[in-house]
Symmetry: C2
Subunit: 186 residues, 2 copies
């Protein structure tokens, strides 16, 4: 359980492509669902879907509406609780503005970038009162340097049983939230 | 790191629907990818995609082939390593046969069923030499009772920051593997 307001963001621009160029990625339906369900499970107040293209934010909004007011709201009522945390925004700055100027940006990376903070230390920080925390995840080949450079902390890469750790963002977000605020001890 | 051979299975039949009836669920493309990537990250030797319908197993095989031999194998070579652990089988019994008669079935559930074993205890068991372990995940509204009744252990439900825990199977599998064999301590 976090002692601070906790939120997540999934960034579709600016992110890297395989060659390291700055690109905009397409919205993925299951990213909206899965990250919302993980956010709701771990007590996040907001899940910002960051996309600069109006039609893509509108698509995110239609997915949310379908599950909160549309025909699927009756079929799977639990999903409404999850999707209620989704906030489509055009830039990461909008998410920061919504949380307040003192918000801390925490970024995750599959590879070592910057000086990483362990999940154990980050978990301890979240258990102590302080400003809101926005955990920022990237699509494509990861967050652009301009976002990483603004981060208060860079979380250590998630390691499994070896060096290979090419997790989906849906899996990486779930694991990161569980390590940071999950109820079960190891 | 597991001291035992560790594998996962995703069951599409027999699983429950919302009303508790036994049904067969459809294959989801991202389940194949995400669970394979999580399995590979956490050192699982096999990811059994359990589906009784030939055309659905053939679809799983085509997804794997596309990413191991097809055009996408060149575009994202890492994915090949993940999808190499995917084994489409028609029944859970086929997965059990592949791992040996002494395999332990461990099942997960979002709600309390049976007498649950904590992740901490299960993690300790995996760190000790013993027979192979097959962690079985269900689609739809969860595994049918006939599978749960055969299980050696039922893992405790994953709890986040409260009672709400309607995670996707992609998130639940990732979190379960991280709690059981992940490298980072809390």
């Amino acid at each position: 359980m976090s002692a601070r307001r906790l939120a997540i963001a999934l960034v579709h621009h600016p992110v890297l492509d395989k060659q390291g160029a700055i690109v905009t990625s397409a919205l993925t339906n299951l990213d909206v669902h899965d990250l919302a369900r993980s956010a709701r499970t771990y007590g996040c107040t907001d899940y910002f879907v960051v996309h600069p293209i109006d039609a893509q934010r509108e698509l995110a909004k239609r997915i949310v509406d379908h599950w909160t007011d549309g025909s699927s709201a009756k079929r799977i009522p639990d999903r409404k609780d999850a999707l209620a945390v989704v906030r489509p925004v055009s830039r990461l700055a909008d998410a920061i503005a919504a949380l307040g100027a003192d918000v801390e940006l925490w970024v995750t990376a599959a590879r070592d970038i910057g000086t990483p903070v362990s999940f154990a230390e980050a978990r301890a920080r979240l258990a102590t009162a302080g400003p809101p925390v926005l955990i920022v995840f990237g699509t494509g080949w990861g967050l652009a340097p301009e976002i990483v450079e603004r981060a208060t902390i860079v979380l250590e890469p998630i390691r499994g049983a070896g060096a290979w750790n090419h997790l989906s963002v849906r899996a990486a977000c779930a694991i990161a939230l569980d390590r940071l605020v999950g109820a079960s001890s190891r």
